[in-house]
């Protein structure tokens, strides 16, 4: 007996429908062929599962859950149109608009457009603004002046 024949008669072997000679050949082949032996074991174990299973235990809150389901079913549902509208239209629009806003804010911060606007106003020749800007620049320069320079100046004064 070869592997192909064994696969053919395997169901009949399980159902005990083979002749004694066939059974002997079947068993001899299984002993000598590991692949067929594994196949037979798996098949046999699987077919063994076709028997009454252990019952699922009673569910303590089954009726409560059932009642809840029935009440939910009876409660007025939102119409199909509204649920479709909210799910397919409103949600994507909200997501898309928040994404666009986030990207816009990101670009705004990255490009420093606020400062550019200041310079553009400066270029427009607004005298008041130029004055304010100059003062601001002076103050700003003063603020960021390194403290080492002050110390050096102080040392020079003392030496003088």
């Amino acid at each position: 007996m070869n592997c192909k024949n064994l696969k053919k008669i395997l169901p009949d072997y399980i159902d005990k429908k083979l002749s004694e000679k066939q059974i002997e050949e079947f068993q001899n082949h299984i002993e000598s062929c590991s692949d067929c032996s594994i196949l037979y074991q798996k098949f046999n174990n699987t077919f063994d599962l076709l028997k009454p299973k252990a019952e699922i235990a009673e569910h303590a809150f089954y009726f409560t859950r059932l009642k809840q389901k029935m009440e939910n079913r009876n409660s007025p549902k939102e119409s199909i149109f509204i649920s479709f509208f909210s799910r397919k239209l409103v949600q994507p629009v909200i997501y898309l608009s928040s994404l666009i806003i986030a990207v816009y804010i990101g670009i705004l911060i990255g490009s420093g457009s606020v400062a550019q606007e200041q310079y553009s106003e400066f270029n427009n020749g607004n005298e008041d603004y130029i004055q304010t800007f100059a003062e601001y620049q002076y103050l700003n320069d003063f603020e960021i002046e390194p403290i080492e320079n002050l110390l050096i100046d102080n040392d020079n004064i003392v030496e003088e």
Partner: protein, 189 residues
């Protein structure tokens, strides 16, 4: 309380009687659904649908057959409807398939097994339910009721509304086909 009295009270929408009825039979319904669906959560949902159907259409029960036969019939029909509706939704790629979520299948015996045994048992169960699903619906139901629920051919014929000899043919052909599918399955795997 006698089933006939219970059913009469349920027909009058007596909630207490319905509760007694549900508590008496929910285990049976849950088991039938689970044997066909092989998924505890789905079986839970479908079994509740069964009781809702019974509560709503109690008048259609004429009392010719046993209450349990009627319950089996409604449970089988609801479970098959559920499987059909799920087949229709199959083109939506299931997340369970992607993530291999097999933990839904349930069997109280599983918890008592050792890890090595559990893996082998799970593989065998997977193969068996794969093969059962591949069978024509009627053969699947007849084999499930006969083997898992231990119903006689006569009881199955009452549940399925066919003759006893037809049940025999269904089960024999189904088992032959099941064996063939299983051998092919193991050859591939």
């Amino acid at each position: 309380m006698d089933d006939k009295i219970l059913l009469a009270k349920i027909a009058e929408k007596d909630e207490k009687a319905f509760q007694v009825f549900v508590e008496k039979y929910h285990q049976l319904v849950l088991n039938v659904c689970n044997n066909i669906l092989n998924n505890y959560d789905d079986a839970m949902d479908v079994s509740q649908e069964v009781f809702i159907k019974i509560y709503e259409s109690i008048d259609s029960f004429r009392g010719d057959s046993k209450v349990t036969t009627w319950l089996y019939r409604v449970s089988v029909n609801k479970s098959l409807n559920y499987l059909r509706s799920r087949k229709k939704q199959k083109w939506f790629t299931s997340l369970d398939v992607i993530f291999g979520d097999d933990n839904k299948s349930s069997d109280p015996e599983d918890k008592e097994l050792k890890p090595g045994e559990n893996i082998e048992l799970e593989e065998n169960k997977k193969a068996l339910y794969y093969a059962l699903r591949k069978l024509p619906e009627k053969q699947n139901v007849a084999i499930s009721l006969n083997n898992f629920e231990d119903l006689s051919y006569k009881e199955i014929s009452e549940v399925m509304g066919i003759s006893v000899s037809e049940v025999g043919v269904l089960i024999n052909r189904g088992k032959k086909k099941l064996q063939k599918i299983l051998i092919d399955y193991y050859k591939k795997n």
